[in-house]
Each structure stands twice: as C-alpha cells, then as structure tokens.
C-alpha cells in the first residue's frame, strides 16, 4: 500500500543571482549609517584592540569613532593641510599619519599633540605605517622615495629612492619585522627588506598602483591599480597568481576579512566586490552612492566602513543573530520532560526501532486526497498562497485538470470568487511557466460564465483586463518573432557552418503563441 503523494509543485530555478551562503552572510548587515566628513575619506583604519574604534582620515583631520557612536570620540587636527593614511600600531596605542606638507606625525591615542614629527620627505606623504616590531615606521612620499624611521630617536634609518613616480600605497609584513612593500604610480610594487640597501622584489603591475595588501601569511601579495586586482606569489619571487578584472573603474582600496577567506576591493565605479580567496571568483558585491576611496572591515566582520569621494562615511553594522534571541525569549519546558530517553545510550544488543515520520499534508493536499476539488481550489486561492506562491495555485489547478475535475471546481462561484480567479489569471497568464494551464483555466471560465456576462460590472471589467493582458502578450510575442527573424537573417549571412547554432537559437527562444477566442 502506497502513501498518498502530495501535489508536485514545479519550481523553476531562479534566474539571475543565486542565493549562496555568501549572499546570506554579506546581506546580514543593518541599514547603513551615513556620516558627512569634511573631505574625501582617504583612509579608514580599525584599532587592532577592543573597543574597536576606527580612525578616519579625511581632509586635514583624523577622527576616531567608537564602535556605535556616530560622533567622533577624538579628533587630531594638527595638520596644516590634508592628512593622509592615519594608521594604528598593533597595540592600538599609537597612530601615525602622513600629510601634505611632507611631515609624518606620530600621535598617542590618549594625547592630542604629536609625540614625534618625522621630517625628511620633500613632498606630500601619502603612505605611513608601522613595521611589525612596533619601533619603526615606513613611509612613502610624492618625492618618489620610501623611508624607514626609528620611533625612539625620531631619525631616519634608511631611504630608498627606487620608485620613479609617486609612492601612494604601502603595507608592512606581519611575519617579518623588516619587510614592507610600497606601490607607486610608476606601475611597480617593490618589496623592501630593512636590512638591505635596495628592494628585493619588483613587481610590474601594469597600471598605477593604488593599493597593496599582504596576506597575513606573508606569502601572497595583492595589488590594485587601474581596473585590475592582481594577486602575486611572493615566495616564488613575485609570480602572478591571478589577475581579476571585475571593476570597470580604477580600484582604489583593498581589504581582507577577518578569516582571510574573502578579499574585498572598492573602486571608483561605486562598487565593493567580495572575492573568495580560494577560487578568486566574485561571491558578492555591494554598491554605494559615490566612488569609493577607502574601505575597512572590523575584526569579526562586525562593521563595514566605506569612505567615498564626496566625504560621506558609510557604516554598516552586522545584524545580531536572530535565532538565539528568540529561543531565549521562549519559556523552555521542563528540561526533564523533553530530555527523557534522549541521553539513553543504546547497548549493543538493543534493536532500535525508528518511529515512522508522519508527513504533514498541506491543506490543499488533504482536500485533494478526499477528492474535494472545489475546496482545494478555494484553499489555494487564499491570499497567502495566491500572492506569495502562485506556483502552488497553478500546480493545484494543473492537478485538478489532470484529474478531469477542473471544470466542476471552477463552476458555481459567486461574483467575488470569479473576480478573484480572473484577477489571478489575468496577472499570471503571461508568465511562461504558467501559461499552458492558465490558458485552459481562462478558456473554461469563459465557457462557464459566458451566460452571466453583463450582469456584474466587476466581472466584466476583469474579463476586459484579461483580454487586454492577452492582447499585449500577443503583440509582444509578435515583436519577439520579428527580432528572431532579424537574428536569423544575421546568422544566415555568416559562414555556412553556423547552421547549427541558428537552430539552437530557434529552439531555445520562446515561441509559444497564446491563442484566445475572446
């Protein structure tokens, strides 16, 4: 004896973006908060230690924001002109920033006046950062030089003049305290070792380099410039691993997520793209209102902060996990009631008998099981089903048609129900996946209710709407056929070998023509 088989609801694979775990993860942020800064935001840096404050460098100031405060907690404004690249040290106590006047300033987070000023660059300094031993600072300036500074003495240790254009980005290795990289507008990325007099690796990016990033392992280097994001294997002496071209304007900033599994890139095309670092495919992307200059992700991916050219700072906080809170709110039943027998460990000689799982049937299935055709149709015309899952409604209509009881299910309905039915049909009949059955339904309705036509204004209006919808669809199909004809001509004018592809096109295109006798 077989079980009752529920109605098969045909689901079509959704076209366009597929919902993956990544989509779910990256969509899990609250609505963004916008803060207006004084100028273009050129750097955002999160403090490596809690509370996760972040330093935002814009115009001639550096603002420190708290995690949830939307007012700056602290401001460093001792800059005569624009400040650049406010970066935290690993312990979160010190902050370094370059400036337009060529001076690098070192601040204590708790103080206001700079602790040190490093003078040496003759042109604006766009890059400044700490090496991982915490006692040295590297910097790069528009005077084409990269320098290393000693914090305690405040003196320059070494100066590299290898770039032939502005140095605009840099990054220190986390595993080796002597290694840092700088990227320049001369299209190269150079890797320096503080112990040597010259660069050890030079990588040709091909475009002016806007941002560089070293992976935490130190083995991979990411450079961004022009429309390209390129990943290089440092350990192989700077071999190109992969070149990504997913933006259609210059990529300005790069960032890794906390796990190192995803790479984020922001671009002047107003998009942030998220790549998987295993497959280097785009797994998600965000779009923003203005070209993006800077981007930062807090540890644990709690917050995404994006700075744009119009000076707007866009902050998104992650939504709290919902499931947990709900279950806590609910009053739990007595622990023992539900744990009875759960902890029993079966002995070896025990024979386990699994309880048959009772499948709960949907309401329409129950009605179909008992051959209540009309009621089953009523059940799927409930607003919740009709509006949100029209495929269920159509599947039940199909099933009724298959059973030969569609006509009797549609018959004997009052004005309100006919109105409902016709509204549904008129709206959905043009959807290709529903067309075949809904045309039948429309035919039957017309047949049944032809005699009462003209008695109710509402029903008459619905009939007219249906006619209009079908007429529109026929026009549309006609146009499509015209286009197809044009394409056929085009294909035919190509080489003769293309015969097969032409046939493929023909078979894949929608050619169903809806006929109606209204």
């Amino acid at each position: 004896m077989a079980l009752y088989k529920p109605v098969v609801v045909q689901t079509c694979p959704r076209l366009g973006e597929r919902i993956t775990q990544d989509t779910v993860y990256w969509e899990g942020y609250k609505a963004p908060i916008q803060i207006k800064e004084f100028g273009a935001v050129n750097k955002i840096d999160f403090s490596p230690v809690p509370p996760r404050n972040y330093a935002v460098t814009a115009s001639s100031r550096i603002h420190i924001y708290g995690r949830y405060s939307h007012e700056p907690i602290k401001t460093f404004s001792r800059f005569k002109d624009a400040a650049y690249c406010g970066t935290y040290r690993d312990d979160g106590n010190l902050l370094v920033a370059g400036s337009d006047e060529g001076i690098i300033r070192l601040f204590d987070i708790s103080g206001k006046a700079p602790l040190r000023q490093f003078d040496g660059h003759t042109k604006p300094v766009h890059v400044a950062g700490f090496l991982s031993d915490k006692y040295r600072i590297f910097s790069g300036g528009d005077d084409y030089s990269s320098k290393l500074w000693d914090i305690p003495s405040g003196t320059e240790i070494v100066s590299y003049r290898e770039h032939t254009d502005y140095v605009r980005c840099g990054c220190a290795s986390k595993v080796n305290a002597d290694v840092f990289v700088t990227g320049s507008y001369d299209h190269t990325v150079k890797l320096f070792d503080a112990r040597t007099k010259s660069s050890i690796i030079t990588i040709e990016h091909g475009q002016p380099v806007e941002s560089v990033l070293l992976f935490p392992s130190g083995g991979l280097l990411v450079s961004a410039g022009g429309r390209y994001v390129k990943v290089w294997d440092v350990l192989k002496g700077g071999q190109l691993l992969v070149s990504l071209k997913n933006h259609h304007k210059t990529v300005t900033c790069l960032c890794l997520n906390s796990s190192g599994q995803r790479l984020l890139s922001g671009s002047l095309d107003r998009h942030v793209k998220i790549y998987s670092t295993t497959s280097y495919k785009v797994v998600h992307s965000f779009s923003y209102a203005a070209p993006i200059l800077s981007l930062a992700l807090s540890p644990e991916d709690e917050t995404i902060v994006v700075g744009m050219t119009n000076g707007v700072l866009n902050i998104k906080h992650r939504k709290p996990e919902e499931g947990k809170e709900k279950s806590q709110k609910k009053r739990q039943p007595a622990y023992r009631t539900y744990m009875r027998g759960k902890t029993y460990m079966p002995k070896q000689e025990d024979f386990s008998v699994s309880k048959p799982v009772r499948r709960a049937l949907r309401k329409y299935d129950k009605l179909l099981k008992s051959f209540d055709s009309s009621k089953a149709l009523d059940a799927v015309l409930e607003p919740s089903i009709r509006l949100h899952t029209p495929e269920v409604t159509v599947a039940v209509m199909q099933e009724l048609h298959r059973r030969g009881t569609l006509r009797s299910a549609l018959a004997g309905r009052d004005e309100k129900q006919i109105n409902l039915l016709l509204t549904f049909v008129a709206r959905r009949v043009i959807e290709p996946r529903f067309t075949s059955i809904l045309v039948t339904v429309a035919d039957i309705i017309t047949d049944i209710y032809q005699p009462v036509l003209g008695q109710s204004a509402i029903v008459d209006r619905q009939f007219l709407r249906l006619q209009e919808a079908i007429g529109k669809e026929i026009d549309y199909q006609g146009e499509l056929l015209e286009v197809l004809g044009m394409m056929d001509t085009l294909f035919a004018s190509f080489a003769e070998k293309k015969v097969t592809s032409l046939e493929e096109t023909r078979s894949n295109s929608p050619t169903e023509i809806i006929e109606t006798d209204e």
Partner: protein, 833 residues
C-alpha cells in the same frame, strides 16, 4: 527447419494474465493457492515465496477449491476439461477426472458428498453456460472418466464470480446481466429476480459479482454502477427485499463475506478495499491505494487473513483488521509497456513499466520484483478515461550510473513531457533525481540512448533524445564550478540536430561511441559524436525506418536497419554502401551486447519467428519459426552470469546472453534448452515443509545446515568419532569449566587449545595403521625398487576420505608423505626407453 535433438524450446517465465480465479487459503492459513495460467501455485503466506508449482493441465486453470473432506487436497479445473485432485503439500497429482467439455468454474461443497459443481458451455449453443454437478467416482487409478453430469442451473454466467452457494449449500445463486436466480436444492425451487434496468435509465446496473452470507439467508450482489445490493427474503418470489450500499464509483469487481458474516468486503477499479460493517451504509472502513484494480477477494477459513488479486497480477495479503500485510508480486502487468525491455547493467534485472508511473525492476532468477522506482511521483487516480502521466522511455548508461526516463501525458493540444535524469547513489543504493527537464522536445520523444563507452565511460556520458518535432538533442553533463552549490553536476542540452525537417524516429550509438546514427523517417543519418557533423546518410526506400542498430565487435563496421515495408538492410560504414538486404517484416531488432549476434523477430502470417544473424553474413545463424502465436513486441538480451556450455554449435549465440521476449499479452518468454521445471532452483524445491513449523529463512538455513551435517556424518563417520573424542579432552574441559576470572591470558591458552584439537600420532586408529600395512604389501612393480613407504597415486586417491576431512594437520601430513614419496621416487627407469 530441422530441429536438433536438444532443441531450444520456448519457455514461459512470467507475466501474462495469470490470475483467473479467486485464491484459496489452506486450512491453517499458512499457504495460499492461486491459479496461474496453466499452473497452480502455492505461496507461503509468511515468506511470500513460491513453494510449489503444480503443472499438469493443458490449458488455463479456471477453478481451484480445497477438498471439503480433506483439507490437504485440492481440486482444480481447467479449460482442457479435466478436474485434478492434488496433494498440494507434496505437489503430487492424485487423480484426474476427465469431464470432456470446457470447464469454466469449479465449486466444491461440504454438503454434497462426492460431487463437485462446474460450469460448462451448453452443448449446441454459443455463449450459454450451465452449472452442472459432476459425480466423482471413487474408482482406483489415476485417470478416471467423470461423465455423470446433472444440470443444476441453466443460463449462468461464465465467470466464477457469478455463482455463489448459500448457507451450508442449501441454495445456489447465480447472476447474469440483469437477472438473479436462486435455486433451492431441497425444495427444488427456482426463484428469478431482476433489477429493472429501464427504471434506473442506464444499463449499468447489471450484476457483476455475487456473494452469499455464510450463516444467514442473505445475498450480496455487486453491480456495474458501483452499487452493492443485499437481497433478503428471496424465498418469496414477490415479497423479496433488498437494500443498497453505494460507495464505489465504478464496477464492483468482487465481494466477499467475512467468516462470521458480520462484515462484507468489496473492491473495484478504485483499488480501494472497502469493509462494510453490519451491512450498513454508514459504517465502513477503507484500505486505499492498493496499487491497481482489485479483481478477486478471498478470505481465509479462520478469518484472520484476506487476499486480493489485482489486475496487474499482484497478490496482496491483508490482515483481518484491514492492515496491509504482504504483497506477492512477480512481473507486474502494466497497462502498456512503452518503455521497452531494458536490462539494468547493475542488477541484470529486466526494467520496464510497472505500476502506473513506476519503473519495475524484475529479477529473472527469482521471478520477483526487486523494487519499484517511482518516476512520475504523482498520485495515480484509478478512474477510467483519465489521461495521466506515464513513463514512456527508459535508458541506462553503460554501468548503470545514470538512468534517463521520459514521462508524458497525452493531451489534445500538446503533450506534457518531462525528461528526468537519475543518479545512482551508492550510499542509499537507489536512484536519486538529478535533473528534470520540462518539455525537452515539443512533441513526443521517439527514442533515447546513452553513449555507451564501455570501459572509458562515466566521466562524460552523453544522452541523445530523438523527437517527433524533427530534431534530435544531445544532452551532456555540465559541472557547476561553484564549490558551495548543492549539486555539482547537472544535465543540459548541448546540440540540436535536424535533417530536412523529417521526424527523428530512432537513435543509436556505435559500440565505441564515435558515431551516432539517427533515423529520420526513411533516411538514416550518421553523425560524428565529437564535432556533431553529418557524416553520411543511408536510405532504402520505400518504407520508414523502424529500428536501427550498429554491429558489435568484429562487425562494428556494419549498420543494420529494419523498415516497415519489410526489409532488413545492412550497410557497410566503410564503403557507405548497402552490404545486403533481406525481405523480412522485422518487428524487433535486438543486438546482443556481448557478441556479434543480432536477433530479429518477425511477424508473418499470425506467428512470430526468430532469426539470429551476424551482420557480416546475410545467412542467419539460427532460425526458429513459429516462436509463439502472440505478437512479440519487445526483446532483450540478458547477460548470463557465467557462459553456458551448450554442446551444439548452433546455439553458440546463446552462450553469453539469454534472449527474453515480451508478447502483446505481456507474457515473458525465453528460449532455453532446459524446461521450466529445471529452471526452478534447487533451493526453492528444498522449501518442502517437513513439519508444520512456520517456514522462515532462518529455519530454512538451519534445515540446510542440518541436512549438510547429516550428509557429512554419513560420509565421514570416522572423523565424527574423532571429533566427539576430542570434546572431552582435558585441555578443552579445563578451558570450559574454569571460571573466567582465574583463566590466564588468551594468548597463553591459544596454543594449548589448538594443540588439544590436533590428532596426535598415538591416537591414530588401528584400522588406519592396518591400511598402511596393506598398501605396503600392494606395491606394484613400477616402484618395487623403492622402500616400502612409497605408495601408488591411485591408492592415494582410493582413500579420499582422509583427505576430505577438514583436519589441517592431517592434510599436511599426507602432503608431507607425498612429498617424501616423490623425493624418493626414482625415475631412472625412464632412461631405459
């Protein structure tokens, strides 16, 4: 056609319409007896196995009844005019009574001493039947004439369901069309009643079946309009009464009263068993979805079980509380076998349409259904005239990893088509749906095949479907590159090919998979399977191509095609020319997957003939005319597990595979040199029941073991004595009687235990020693110059019992002795020659 002494014969191995009569339970409800074609089958209720196959009738068995005076005996009647009495526990025919005319039904009553009732056609008139009682004389001898007939009722229905005997055989009731007649034996009174067909305005109130209450005077009749009428007071011609029960929407196929008569069972096309309590319309229970229309219902004599026979040859056993208990199913008869006969490469089972919307896997060895795969996955409504989706095409990839199915629903405007691809999941050991394609073609799919790559297969299988919409489509696996996707592979269309807007009718891949042949009405096109370029075309007008296939192995350069104008053509693919053609109306063209042979079944002058040929020679290897009277629609070669050794050269083509046919009555035939009796495996014969213990697999196992043991006992009596001796050796005793906690470690005990099992030299029986002495004395001349230890090989063989014993030590000893002997043997005498 000359037939060799060991001629092949056509053996029926399943299917057909097998149940023509109600089943009978044995008195203890442990066995179920069913008429099945020309045979009577006995099933075990507990294990569902066929225990006995009682053959002897020359035509359909039309009635079976237990002997009322001996419950171990069974009467059976057949269209061949004989009544046979069987001892069904042993499967022995006791007596054969020949009546002379066709017997259409059989009834046996406890009250009528030595006679049974049969329905026979009335002599001289067509389509009129009469119920007669036959006196079964108690004369000695196997074959007895039973010509002592006395007519009881005239003008009865031919079906066994149309007659029923009332309370303790006091009356007999019979229905035919719209008339009911009741005959009282004692009063010799005949009452006639009829349902007024004009009043109900339709002719559908005709009688279809009848059942009598076991204790009361009440008759239940089933009608074609789904009503059940309960008749009472039918002693009176006028004042009779009847009440009506109505649930069935279509014909009531059968009725049965429970043993006490408190409830009535009815069944019909809806395949729902209805239990009516106390003959009232309001209290009824249902057992729905039994799979297919119910044909017959029978109750066991103790009332604990009920059995329904279904239209698709299934037997369902149901508990008294209306719970489904068991189902006995062989080859399920489907409405129409559209899928063809396909062999599952994994299980070697035949695969074809089963229940509506299901695919049945039928095991040829055990004559049982292995499993039924639900393809359509929709509720089947048992209602006449309803067009529902059913399976039309099935194809397996070479290793059985992929299964492709096509289902369609006929509709006036456009057929609803679905192509489904199933993946064999090793973990769950079943097929899992991988891809579903809605409307793969715009019209019916005519053929479908996988590219059969043999060893190289399964990395990139290719599926080709040919449709009536004038195209064939090539489907390939596409891999989803996204590592987080749920499914890593799915199928999609890769290429669409057509030829001059002709309908594609057949498709077939060559053995190495490099070529695809697609027939378009009258033309066969050959395509390269890599570039999908059209290579060449073949045509043999007039007539459309009915089927095509490539030659195999040494004949792989040939392409065979059969046209519907009765031509069989063989084209050479190298020269692109017709090699030979033969005038033959070929219905089925089936290549053997393991050899070059191709079987063609033709339909000529109302009989099917079989031709087996190799494509490289136009003369057939084997011809069998008059294979059977039915039209053969399908055939399949099933690979044998091990090649059969046939003596005759003529049957070489049967060595690696066996050929099966399916006729239009869905009967499965095969060609075999052995008869069906031999084909039944010895294990099933062993199922004889010595005691009336319930037969369980375990008891069978035990029985077999016991049997073997007793055989060993007789063979190796000597050794058994030894064994018994060992059991009370001190070491074993110690081991078994010492408490576990004081025993030393197992590794310490092991050598002692093993040693105790060895047979020590001193223990050798005196008998054996004597044997050896004898051997010594029997030295032959050949090795007379050797020392006495050497014995002749033949003598070694003469005492195989020693070797047969499982004692390893002994074996090694004898081997040792042999070795020693060989070493010492001197072959110097050879040099003398």
């Amino acid at each position: 056609m000359m037939v060799a002494p060991a001629a092949l014969r056509v053996v029926r191995c399943g299917g057909g319409t097998i149940h023509g009569v109600r089943a009978v339970f044995s008195a203890d409800s442990k066995y179920l007896l069913c008429a099945s074609g020309d045979f009577v089958k006995m099933y075990s209720v507990a294990t569902e196995e066929t225990l006995r196959l009682m053959g002897g009738h020359a035509d359909l068995v039309t009635g079976i009844q237990l002997n009322p005076r001996n419950h171990m005996q069974l009467y059976s009647s057949s269209l061949d005019g004989n009544i046979k009495l069987w001892d069904f526990m042993d499967g022995i025919p006791i007596k054969t009574f020949s009546v002379g005319s066709k017997l259409l039904a059989l009834y046996a009553l406890a009250s009528s001493e030595d006679s049974v009732f049969v329905v026979i056609p009335k002599s001289g008139e067509r389509d009129t039947f009469q119920l007669v009682s036959v006196k079964l004389t108690k004369t000695a001898g196997q074959d007895v004439e039973a010509k002592d007939l006395s007519v009881v009722l005239d003008g009865v229905g031919a079906s066994p369901k149309h007659i029923a005997f009332g309370r303790e055989g006091q009356y007999v009731a019979s229905v035919k069309e719209a008339n009911l007649q009741v005959y009282f034996f004692k009063q010799k009174q005949l009452n006639r009643f009829s349902v007024n067909t004009t009043k109900t305005k339709n002719r559908n109130s005709q009688f279809t079946c009848i059942a009598c209450h076991p204790t009361e005077d009440c008759i239940a009749t089933g009608h074609a309009d789904g009503k059940i009428r309960l008749w009472r007071n039918f002693y009176h011609k006028k004042e009779y009464t009847f009440s009506t029960l109505h649930w069935h929407h279509d014909i009531v196929m059968d009725l049965a009263y429970s043993v006490e008569g408190t409830s009535l069972l009815s069944g019909g096309v809806e395949s729902v068993l209805v239990l009516w309590h106390n003959e009232s319309d309001c209290r009824k229970d249902f057992l729905p979805r039994l799979g297919s229309p119910i044909e017959y219902i029978s109750m066991s004599s103790d009332g604990s079980l009920c059995c329904t026979l279904h239209k698709d040859n299934r037997i369902t056993i149901i508990n008294s509380n209306l719970r489904f208990s068991k189902s006995i199913q062989g080859l399920i008869k489907s409405i129409d076998v559209k899928t063809g006969l396909v062999v599952d490469p994994r299980t070697k089972a035949l695969v074809l349409n089963g229940e509506p919307g299901h695919l049945q896997f039928y095991s040829l060895q055990s004559d049982q259904q292995l499993f039924s795969l639900d393809i359509v996955q929709r509720q089947y409504i048992h209602q006449a005239g309803l067009k529902q989706a059913d399976l039309v095409k099935v194809a397996f990839s070479a290793r059985g990893k992929w299964l492709a199915t096509v289902e369609e629903r006929e509709e006036a405007t456009d057929p609803e088509l679905q192509l489904k691809l199933w993946f064999y999941d090793e973990e769950t050991q079943s097929f899992k749906l991988n891809t579903r394609v809605n409307t793969p073609h715009e019209d019916h799919i005519t053929d479908m095949c996988f590219r059969d790559m043999g060893e190289l297969e399964d990395d990139s299988p290719i599926l080709v479907t040919a449709g009536r919409d004038c195209v064939f489509k090539v489907w390939v696996i596409v891999e989803d590159t996204d590592p987080e996707a749920q499914q890593s592979v799915s199928w999609s269309c890769d290429f669409v090919g057509s030829y001059h807007n002709y309908q594609a009718t057949n498709c077939c891949f060559s053995e190495d998979g490099s070529l695809l042949a697609v027939s378009f009405e009258e033309i066969v096109t050959v395509w390269d399977s890599v570039t999908w370029e059209l290579k060449c075309t073949f045509c043999h007008p007039p007539g459309k191509i009915r089927s095509i296939c490539f030659g195999r192995l040494t004949c792989s350069k040939y392409l065979i095609g059969a046209t519907d104008h009765g031509f069989l053509c063989c084209w050479n693919l190298l020269t692109c020319a017709l090699e030979w053609s033969a005038h033959l109306n070929v219905l089925v063209l089936q290549p053997d997957p393991l050899s070059e042979h191709i079987a063609a079944v033709s339909w000529l002058s109302k009989e099917s003939s079989l031709f087996v040929f190799k494509p490289n020679e136009p003369r057939p290897v084997y011809i069998q005319r008059n294979l059977c009277k039915e039209k053969i629609l399908l055939a399949a070669f099933v690979p044998r597990d091990e090649p059969e050794m046939t003596g005759s050269e003529k049957y070489l083509w049967l060595r690696s595979s066996q050929l099966f046919f399916l006729t239009d009555t869905q009967e499965l035939l095969t060609l075999s040199a052995r008869s069906l009796e031999e084909r039944l495996t010895p294990s099933s014969k062993q199922l004889a029941i010595e005691e009336s213990l319930p037969v369980t697999p375990f008891s069978l196992l035990l029985g077999k073991h016991r049997h073997q043991q007793s055989q060993e006992d007789t063979d190796l009596g000597k050794l058994v004595v030894h064994n018994k001796h060992e059991q009370d050796s001190p070491a074993v005793k110690e081991l078994l009687h010492t408490p576990a906690h004081v025993l030393p470690s197992a590794s310490f005990l092991c050598p002692i235990f093993i040693n105790s099992l060895l047979i020590s030299k001193e223990n050798k029986s005196a008998e054996e020693v004597a044997d050896e002495v004898e051997m010594e004395s029997e030295k032959t001349d050949d090795d007379s110059d050797e020392e006495g230890d050497a014995t002749e090989m033949e003598q070694e063989d003469a005492t195989p019992m020693e070797l047969l014993g499982e004692m390893t030590c002994k074996l090694s000893k004898s081997q040792e002795r042999e070795l020693r002997k060989l070493r010492k043997m001197d072959y110097s005498w050879i040099s003398a020659f």
